[in-house]
Symmetry: none
Subunit: 218 residues, 2 copies
DNA sequence: CGTAATTTTTAGTCTTGTCTAAAAATATAT
DNA sequence: ATATATTTTTAGACAAGACTAAAAATTACG
């Protein structure tokens, strides 16, 4: 069984991976309002348990195992928030702190019964999608890279149909699904994108940008 | 704010004070499945906070302050149990462990809203009275079935602690909380009770009679 | 490039809540 | 009443999870 603290770290990791390219020790410390040294200690523990990929000084990312745990906590959090608003009459702005505690209650059956009681809601009171019990979560905003403007970010989720060769190209460039992309600059005269992936600057033609799918957070 | 552990100790103290006159270090250790030395440590801390009266080697008792905290935890415990049974469809015997966690969620407003949502119930699914928010709790005229003599009557209000399996048995026999019981005959040689419930004759072993709680009118 | 600034990790401390082993106090029984 | 048994407390250890201060690695800049 994972501790409350471990669960909060994994959840933080999940949210930070959405918003920023690299998840740094300091960003976690900021997010959780803790000191970076405390974060380092916990990262070691989570790496030991194979919940994250962690290399000293190199930042960190969730493993599949870790992501599933994070999603199960987020599922609980959002179901409880829904309960608090729909059934107990709380305002949408009051429920987060309480759900922060309720999300750690241990009982598979409890959360499935709660889900059914609430009528298997798809979204929480803040409009965020509720992951299902297998950790599947609706992709909120799937966009093409070409739709992004300079400084916007996204996570690579796939390519458009009939463009398998693009996958090969990405592979060769060491770009994988799940990698974060940040638009650095868009060249005006031919629509070329300069982007940053894994701290490397890459150049994508307009055609590539028209076929590369991203998940964004707006 | 008190820790989960402190709250569990205070609740244990409250329950033990009901059943026994003096609350010994060992009885608390037994109840909470901990070592007596750990209990001593915690008793010092609770005494420091003025939640208990404690003198080395002399046993302990709750102060008014401590009793109020214990009752507020018991209130939460029983309201959550009621929620789990009434709204989420859990059985009597499944809810205690989950409520053991839920009772520690911190939010005054949460518990008041839950109380209203449930229609301000007076009793939990085990027939135990729910304290109000001022820590007032109904004192029941409760007896064990084994204390009744032939021809006496009572209303089933619950079972003693740690006898969840008895609840299952009663369920199977279609015996519910609130049912009236009349003692028809007590077999002398093994203490078996023949009782009438809902116009049906049932046979209860002595052990069952030692664990079945009734409300009587004397 | 080389130095300065920043980030991250290490080393060591603290608190909470548990434990074991042993000592001290109290209770029981001859 | 004294010896024995039981209960309770003390002393010391440990794990989790936080912190501070300082060292080490990385990144940024002149
Ligand atoms: Mn939380
Ligand atoms: Mn939400
Ligand atoms: Mn509890
Ligand atoms: Mn109960």
């Amino acid at each position: 069984m994972n501790s409350q603290s471990e669960e909060d770290y994994l959840k933080a990791l999940y949210h930070l991976e959405m918003d920023f390219d690299a998840v740094s020790t300091n960003s976690i410390a900021d997010y959780l309002d803790m000191k970076p040294s405390s974060v380092t200690d916990m990262l070691k523990k989570l790496a030991e348990k194979k919940f994250i990929n962690y290399e000293k000084y190199k930042g960190t990312s969730l493993t599949k195992k870790g992501r599933l745990i994070a999603l199960s906590i987020i599922r609980k959090h959002r179901l409880w928030e829904t309960f608090l608003v729909e059934k107990l009459g709380f305002g949408w702005d009051q429920v987060h702190i309480i759900a922060e505690q309720l999300e750690h209650i241990k009982s598979e059956e409890l959360i499935e019964n709660l889900d059914n009681f609430l009528g298997n809601p798809k979204y929480d009171p803040h409009g965020d999608p509720i992951p299902n019990k297998d950790g599947e979560i609706e992709k909120m905003n799937q966009k093409l890279l070409v739709e992004l403007k300079a400084s916007q970010k996204g996570i690579i989720t796939g390519v458009k149909k009939g463009t398998a060769s693009l996958l090969n190209y990405l592979d060769k460039e060491k770009v994988k699904l799940g990698d974060s992309v940040k638009v650095i600059e868009i060249l005006e005269f031919d629509g070329t994108y300069i982007v940053e992936i894994n701290k490397r600057k890459l150049t994508f033609s307009e055609k590539i940008c028209q076929n590369l799918l991203l998940e964004t957070n707006d």
